[in-house]
Symmetry: C2
Subunit: 230 residues, 2 copies
Amino acid sequence: MTKKLPNNELERIANTTMADVVEIRLREYLKTSAFKPGDALPKEIELANSLGVSRNVVREALSRLRMLGMVETKKKRGMVLARPDILGSFERVLDPAIIDEHTLRDLFELRLTLEVGLADLLYLRKTAKDIAELEQIAKSQKVTGDKQTFRIQHEIAFHGKLYQMTGNDTMSRFQSMLLPVFGYLVTLEKKPIIGKVSHLDLVKILKEGTKEEFRQGMLQHLEHHFKKIQ
Amino acid sequence: MTKKLPNNELERIANTTMADVVEIRLREYLKTSAFKPGDALPKEIELANSLGVSRNVVREALSRLRMLGMVETKKKRGMVLARPDILGSFERVLDPAIIDEHTLRDLFELRLTLEVGLADLLYLRKTAKDIAELEQIAKSQKVTGDKQTFRIQHEIAFHGKLYQMTGNDTMSRFQSMLLPVFGYLVTLEKKPIIGKVSHLDLVKILKEGTKEEFRQGMLQHLEHHFKKIQ
């Protein structure tokens, strides 16, 4: 990565617009002046004057911060600093059609890593109700068989429920954002690969087994994916 | 989460600007028309005409896509679809000062989950050279003791190196983005908590032990963090 940097850096400067510069300056300003959520920003015209740029450029930069959820407009108070939706813009760019192969593979591995690490949170927070729901999902899979569309839907439903059971909203949302990436990768597989440990087996472990048994079960369930990345 | 949605949604509509609408339309258009990286976008004026909005609004929306890395300007070709930097805008908003407590806790758990899941990739890709470097980092820690600033720096160096050893650039960058969050959380601790398994112990396992021994070692190393989230 370090070796590629000089070139990228040179190109980036050539392509930098005034809005890029103002956006960076504004973020630095908000940070160094210790703005807190709810604090009102200076007026557009004041920002333009002190930066020595046009109002249009300031508006463009503020529009970006608005998209990131860092600022919002309040009645009577104007622009204020907001609590950003940290995954919002990540969601915007997570389109498998425009992400390069290398990054897709990285994201695939990231998901496998999370999935193996999930046991600890699951065993802290799982409830009988959640397990019953998970079991329903796993059972319905057996009925519909292995047609590809159903298979992907079931994968999504089952693993999505597991993440939800961790009680971690951010992680749960993060994984649901990664789904298009995995849907995309699964469609590249010629035929369904069924792991040694099925979804129903995993439910059984969650009910009766230990955290470590669940982790080992998950590793076996994902075994064919791990083989792919070797 | 679902219960809160109606309110948020209502507020969001009230606060929607033309740039928000045009941004969404443009992203949908690029997606449904199956634009690929390198494909040229219609001219600003054409987009403005077909959407029936001013050029300023189109420019504002394009500026956002540009910030996300979804479009870039090429000499002679104008705006083209680009491969976005998927973590770029995530990085922009990851400031512990403006993230709410709930999300900070979620991110903390997300990192713990990754750390426990890391063993598989580590054992696929670790090299003798990497382990030697990791050992150097762990040893230097012993010398400087437990002063808080040093301690945080060492935590960062050691765990950062572990992520780098996975060969997964995205995950490695993701964890380095999360660091300000953990730096922030660690400063809230009154005194350093040393786990049963030290960094040097983890290095020893990486050298001589199995993947599962490493995972158990990591779990013990992180034990006091897991206790916190119970």
